[in-house]
Symmetry: C2
Subunit: 335 residues, 2 copies
């Protein structure tokens, strides 16, 4: 069977041209089969600009678009003709096995749960982006899909994150840590205290609490947390990195000497920025749904779209959905 | 009445020499009255090195020390002869009005609550450091004292943070925001949803939710959150800033060109580091206890100790404790 990946080409900040550029790069580099979902005439206009293997790209026409201003759940139910909804239905009907969208996150999460559905036994699917660290990236799960989690959800996040890190990121026996705060309250809050023994029981390499200040060292491969905390980690990271670069830029423009220094360091700064750039790490899979659903960053450029497609390919070839289902079944049956 | 500030000179990573250096600087610059609490002979040896107004420094002998390895609550009860416990008793007995320690945070928070006690009507005291932003610093409350907060606590955090920002940071009508996560769940978690109307009721300039990614822009003067989330914000900030500087350093050593660039930018980097340095902003007051209790950063150098003393002086001169008590009484009576 040929695995197909549906791409919501109407989504994201950079529009259809950018997205199709990324799709063509992916087709030509990885030989993947794609289904582009969006306004057919616009897609064709773009595709005509490129050389590629025509067998590898299909088009599904969708005249409507879900925007970032749309309400998450409502738009999924009302905008049946939107590219996002149509792309999700392709996965539900097994016409495509994976879907990528850089659109409205809330809508994509609702849509994936409502249309594609959960893996049997999974309480709550979770968003699992990769955050940059000093070493490799680390999987952060949940990054914001569930803002009032129960301990049992966190146990499943640990299992799903571990499988993803092993299968897609190729980490051998990935280290899973529970995000916790420092010396002020070593034992953590109620949720963390309840989740701890459940993660110890799980068939994963659970290494215990990881202090949040150490998340960026990169020694832990999977960081488990409630969605509110995970989103906080993600957003503080994004916000602070921006602030640091802005402040640095102001410093660099202060004097003639600093301007020359800045000129000489152009490559270093670019390299640092790339290292910290979330888009370099592809998108965030929504783990626990019954198929491969990847949320690409809203600001994804063509390269980021290409990376998200490669990620979906790795996800599908390594049967992550099936592996998650198996692990959850085993832990339930062991009881 | 002369206001006196007790300093736990045995605390912190840099030891007694460093702390007394900071105390002398504060005495000579601000004319404050200090009570140094610690090993008397060691204190005297240090003091003999300096010129200062002898009337402004008293010594209270304390032979024991609470370390970072000590358990918080236990050490307060057992180590009666420690510098931290003795310093806190000085405030309880109104011999000193404020206390500064850069020691074990958990012990200081427990000790402050147990020994100094809460302001009448305050449910939970909260730790309120200032975090660096693109503009000024912002007050983050609670940064880790309470890891399972109720909505009512968050209302009080907003009131206390607002008074502190107005009286000590000299913000006119400070803007108070409730830390919330982005588009993935606009309404936030249960706690945030419950706290929102209570903060609207409070006699403060509540501006609604603030997205965590925007915290570092500095448009909001007071960021209200549960201690687990607040500690996460603080620790992600610390950890990421370290990672960025470490990665940048590696980039700068990569080539001859980058080394020259780095040399030319030495001042710029130093200035950026200073901007992001928490110790520049003094310590974190523990708001809601019945006196001025300030937790200085463990790595406080002499200048940071001096800044924490100035902060205590501003706190006391502006009667922050009394103002908090008044505001809490008013909101309770209004019901």
């Amino acid at each position: 069977m040929i695995l197909k990946i549906a791409v919501d080409v109407m989504s994201g900040d950079h529009g259809i041209k950018n997205n199709i550029d990324g799709c063509i790069q992916a087709v030509n580099e990885f030989g993947v089969s794609l289904i582009l979902v969006g306004k057919e005439n616009e897609i064709n206009t773009e595709l005509n600009k490129y050389n590629y293997d025509k067998k590898l790209i299909e088009i599904i026409n969708a005249q409507d678009v879900i925007t970032n201003e749309d309400k998450a759940g409502m738009s999924i139910r009302k905008k049946k003709e939107s590219s996002m909804v149509k792309a999700l239905y392709l996965v539900k009907e097994d016409i495509a096995q994976g879907v990528i969208s850089s659109g409205n996150t809330g809508a994509l999460l609702s849509g994936a749960t409502l249309i594609v559905g959960r893996i049997k036994g999974i309480k709550r699917p979770a968003l699992a982006p990769i955050i940059p660290t000093e070493k490799d990236g680390a999987v952060l799960i949940d990054a914001g899909a569930n803002v009032d989690s129960k301990a049992k959800y966190l146990q499943q996040f640990g299992i799903m994150g571990s499988i993803y890190a092993e299968k897609v990121l190729k980490k051998n026996n990935p280290k899973v840590g529970l995000a916790n705060i420092g010396e002020e309250a070593t034992k953590g809050n109620l949720l963390v205290r309840e989740a701890f023994p459940l993660l110890e029981e799980a068939p994963i390499n659970f290494i215990g609490s990881i202090e949040i200040r150490d998340v960026f060292l990169g020694d832990t491969n999977v960081i488990v947390c409630d969605g509110f905390v995970g989103n906080t980690i993600l957003k503080v990271g994004e916000g602070l990195a921006k602030t640091i670069f802005k402040t640095l830029k102001m410093e660099l423009l202060k004097s003639f000497k600093s301007k020359i220094g800045a000129f000489l360091l152009k490559d270093s700064f670019r390299s640092l920025k790339a290292h910290l750039d979330y888009t370099e790490y592809g998108g965030a899979p929504f783990l626990g749904v019954n198929g491969c659903v990847i949320k690409a960053h809203g600001s994804s450029d063509a390269k980021a779209i290409k990376n998200a497609i490669r990620q979906a390919k790795d996800y599908l070839e390594n049967e992550v959905t099936k592996e998650i289902g198996k692990a959850i079944r085993e832990i339930e049956e062991a009881k």
